[in-house]
């Protein structure tokens, strides 16, 4: 059912490179990010974060997760491989185009990106058309739909930069950003979490409905919020924002319920989830204050920039945390296929053997504190904090990539010398 490991790992590796680049470019572009958040360079950095890092990594996770939860394979493995390549071209062409080639490369990147997303949506429609899977599958159908809407926004805006159909003013850009962050990335995370949280925590809550409410409210609220921002209708924007906030509240209630009913101790992933959840709360507060408070244009600009950064931190930390489950699962299967059954101490090989926990904790601490620095720096208009935070986010990206990428080596040297056949007979 699951695709070859090279498919999700290809996306995830590209996403990791995107994270490192995002952090590095944020460090170098910190002053501009504070003073002129709509400048082409900042636009480039933002797209590195949401496309080269988040969208690429999330699409990789979906190519692995959707067939498992839908109990139905992707429509085509070759198309999945083409998607990785086209997506990587697009997510790098766009930021480079924004920064250095105002029109040509941006148009090319936008169109190639649209092709990549259409390929991904077609491929994922196989497992997502399954009647299995419940709320997570329903949510993922909606989130993929929002991905297509987000890309449509993007392509229209890219072509508008070339043809000049209409002015690309703040509220229209923010509509695009919020549809992408809440409707595509946020809803994907919320939907996937409804499957993963109970599974990872052994939490059995058959009557819990908060996850279904979260999916429904965020999906509906994003449509209203996006419409309100697009047409600069404050009342509609506020109503949409309130519905999205209610959906996020239901999502956090679901997390609390899973934690309360758990049958296993909390572990590193859950700390990632809690810290990530704190960022979405901060984002909602910043968004509400930025949208409703009687503040100057400059302060409002800072608050909205910080809100976007907090949303990226919410999703980014959740992605990094879950990668500590997804990547070991993929590499575990490959090791087992090679006959490796045990860890270095001779015990059964477990997912937790496939990365260094100290490095993972350091990744969490560096990532969380430095994302906090970026958000605070943007909110307060303090470029040095943004620069320091951005550099450390890049380091966290490098740490998680090396830790998970080199993880299998932790069991290979000793285990590789074992004769796999007796082990296979003795254990599994």
């Amino acid at each position: 059912m699951v695709p070859p490991a090279s498919v999700p790992l290809g996306f995830l590796l590209a996403g990791a490179v995107g994270l490192v680049a995002f952090g590095a470019c944020l460090a170098f572009g910190a002053t501009l990010a504070v003073r002129s958040p709509r400048s082409p360079d900042v636009l480039a950095v933002t797209h590195l974060g949401v496309l080269a890092f988040l969208t690429t990594a999330v699409l990789g996770a979906l190519h692995q997760f959707a067939p498992v939860v839908g109990v139905r394979a992707l429509r085509s493995i070759p198309v999945a491989r083409i998607t990785v390549v086209t997506l990587v071209i697009a997510v790098w062409a766009l930021p480079i185009g924004f920064a250095y080639f105002p029109t040509t490369l941006v148009v090319v990147g936008g169109l190639v990106g649209a092709v990549a997303v259409c390929l991904a949506a077609w491929n994922l429609s196989g497992p997502l058309s399954s009647r299995e899977g419940g709320i997570p599958v329903v949510g993922l159908r909606l989130s993929v739909l929002y991905l297509l809407v987000t890309v449509t926004f993007g392509v229209v805006y890219v072509l508008d930069r070339h043809y000049g159909w209409f002015p690309l003013i703040e509220h229209r850009v923010l509509a695009h950003a919020h549809v992408g962050l809440f409707g595509w990335l946020g809803l994907t995370y919320i939907s996937v979490a409804e499957k993963l949280w109970p599974m990872f925590l052994l939490a059995h809550r058959p009557k819990a409905r908060s996850g279904a409410w979260a999916v429904g409210l965020v999906a509906a609220g994003t449509a209203v919020l996006g419409t309100g921002l697009l047409f600069a209708w404050p009342v509609v924007t506020g109503a949409g924002g309130a519905v999205v906030a209610a959906g996020i509240g239901a999502h956090l209630t679901s997390l609390a319920g899973a934690v309360k009913h758990r049958r296993r101790p909390l572990e590193l992933l859950h700390v990632f989830l809690f810290v990530s959840a704190a960022f979405v709360v901060v984002a909602l507060v910043l968004g509400a204050v930025g949208g409703l408070a009687p503040v100057s244009t400059t302060v409002r600009m800072h608050l909205v920039s910080a809100e976007i950064a907090a949303l990226i931190a919410w999703l980014g930390l959740a992605v990094i945390g879950h990668c500590h489950k997804i990547v070991p699962f993929i590499t575990f299967n490959r090791l087992r296929e090679r006959g490796i059954q045990t860890n270095r101490s001779g015990g059964p090989l477990l997912f937790g053997d496939l990365f260094d926990h100290t490095v993972a904790v350091a990744t969490l601490v560096i990532g969380a504190t430095r994302f906090a620095l970026v958000v605070a720096g943007l909110a307060a208009g303090f470029a040095a904090a943004v620069a320091a935070g951005g550099a450390a986010v890049g380091i966290a990206g490098l740490a998680v990539t090396l830790n998970l990428g080199l993880g299998p080596r932790r069991v290979l040297p000793k285990a590789a010398h074992q004769d796999p056949e007796p082990e296979l007979a003795r254990t599994t």
């Binding site: 599974m199 052994l202 007979a425 254990t427 599994t428």
Partner: protein, 112 residues
Amino acid sequence: MSQAEPTSTTVDAEATKATVLEALDNVWDPELGLDIVNLGLVYDIKVADRSVVIDMTLTTPGCPVSETLPREAEAAASAALPDFDVSVEVVWDPPWTPERLTPEGLQRLGFS
């Protein structure tokens, strides 16, 4: 003699089941770090002649190890009973709940 045979078959079946359970004790859920017997995933072991059918479940449909764990259980039982035809049936009814964890399983997960 005719009365002894069923008794002998019953004893053999119980012994076979015990052998299977012992083998499954070494099949671990790689995410939870717990064997599938203490996780309560093994519902039934049916022994007839030289055939063994293991009814097992998973913690949730769409579990990441849903393809590998039943295969590993079958391989472990087959290795323990080389003269038997062993198969694993994945069943979803009744669905697994944490209440199926054995006391030892709960203790090993830190919930004693």
